[in-house]
Symmetry: C2
């Protein structure tokens, strides 16, 4: 079995480590725009070597884990290159644009759109974790358009990790992820910016920051390249959720300006009406 | 030694547990508006019993850990009741208003304004942790207005925990905390609200939430009563930081609307120019 992992960062690296565990005898090769990443991935044991074009043509599985805009520029020619038995999976955080792109490709049935709900704020091969995906959720989009035995092959791999599977429409995926993931990142990046802007004048405020601040700005450490691409690919849904968020903040501002502390407290309590949904934390 | 802890929640309960460790023979008594909290605090071993008015008059140390607006309504009569040797410390998250209130009290020199930079999103006596303050920061405001031997007494206790000490002006404290703590809470509460509002129509979006979402909305689980009071007491500084935050979000929205992804990515990178300040997480 020959596997090619395109993109050897947090997601691609971690998934390759899973595949290594499941297929100890597989040949796992890698492609990355960064030579340093290739070397690192080799030294850590994520891949055996760099992959060539020939390797793609003879691969059984190709895993694409690159920024979502890059995935869109590569997917068509990638499908052109693969053999008849090969499955290409994409691990990106947005699914509509790539599904639209491949829709009419003659090898559409050899493509599977996936999105693991797992990650950390770190990036690069050194951030890869062998257990990153354990018991986490994998969303699969438009499985009905992928050749059944290829879907089953991937499902068997995911069951082995093990991951929990959910099947979704690509548009619904993108809309919902805007709320429960992409908006959190916007919020966190801009919170970091707001406080850093102040810090230009007030050099010492950060020693005052406690674990609450750290928790809300944790995602601001995420890879800017990766996230700029996600925001652009999922522009409309991110804008919708962002506008609602800004409205809520402005409403909060007004309550405070009007000294309407009773309603302000009520709003905070409302937020907790489903406290259990706020629970899950890694 | 007799200690009275007024307020037996997360902060008051945890500090009482520290005092118990440092003074195994001290009598630690408690006051709380909730009878259930008194019982819980007794059964956990935070206090020996409920305190009476008489206990306040004979106490050596009174620790006030109630919502900041409640502290303001209680502090003056509390100072009236204490003996000549007693120290009253306030543990609230805002310091300007209480310092202004006590400024002209004849027992001003027996009051010490403190703020521990430590906490969790949980509340009540059961949330108390014996090690919550270990190696965390304690800010002391206007120490020059407190009788030196009383300051030294508290410094010795804090050194024993051990906590790190910083001395600050009350107004500077409130301004800076608005940015590194209060704004994080506003952001988190409103993010929770935004996603919960959507969830009314889309019942199942939360299974899609990963650890990133959980991290950004963790603070939305904080006590609404406590936080409504902090926002109201520190209204001006919170409004200033909130308006800047909203401006940054609107600017992000514009970059996205205008497809200016280059500048959008630049903004995300800018946020990371001091990545190390985003590091600290409990």
């Amino acid at each position: 079995m020959k596997i090619v992992s395109i993109g050897l960062g947090l997601i691609g690296g971690s998934f390759a480590l899973c595949l290594r565990r499941i297929f100890p005898n597989a040949e796992i090769l890698g492609i990355d725009k960064s030579d340093a990443h290739i070397s690192e991935a080799k030294s850590i044991g994520i891949i055996e070597d760099a992959a060539t074009k020939k390797d793609i043509a003879s691969a059984n599985l190709v895993v694409l884990s690159v920024p979502v805009d890059v995935a869109n520029t590569q997917i068509m020619s990638l499908l052109d290159q693969i053999s008849e038995d090969c499955l290409v999976v994409d691990m990106g955080s947005t699914k509509s644009s790539i599904c639209q792109l491949v829709a009419k490709h003659t090898k559409r049935a050899q493509f599977l759109a996936m999105h693991p709900i797992a990650g950390t704020e770190f990036s690069g091969p050194k951030a890869a974790l062998a257990n990153l995906f354990d018991h986490q959720l994998m969303i699969l989009c438009e499985v009905e358009k992928t050749r059944p035995e290829l879907v089953e092959k991937m499902e068997a791999i995911l069951a082995e990790i093990p991951m929990n599977l959910r099947y979704m429409d690509a548009a619904a995926h993108d809309k919902h992820l805007a709320y429960v993931s992409h908006l959190s990142h916007v919020s966190s990046f801009m919170l970091g910016k707001t406080v850093l802007d102040l810090e230009k004048d007030e050099r010492e405020i950060f020693y005052l920051a406690g674990s609450g601040f750290a928790s809300t700005v944790r995602l601001a450490k995420s890879n800017p390249r990766t996230w700029a691409a996600i925001f652009s690919e999922n522009k409309e849904a991110v804008l919708t959720s962002l506008k609602e968020y800004i409205e809520n903040l402005k409403n909060f501002q007004e309550l405070l300006e009007n000294n309407d502390f009773a309603n302000l407290e009520l709003q905070l309590k409302e937020t907790q009406r489903k406290k259990e949904v706020l629970k899950k934390e890694k």
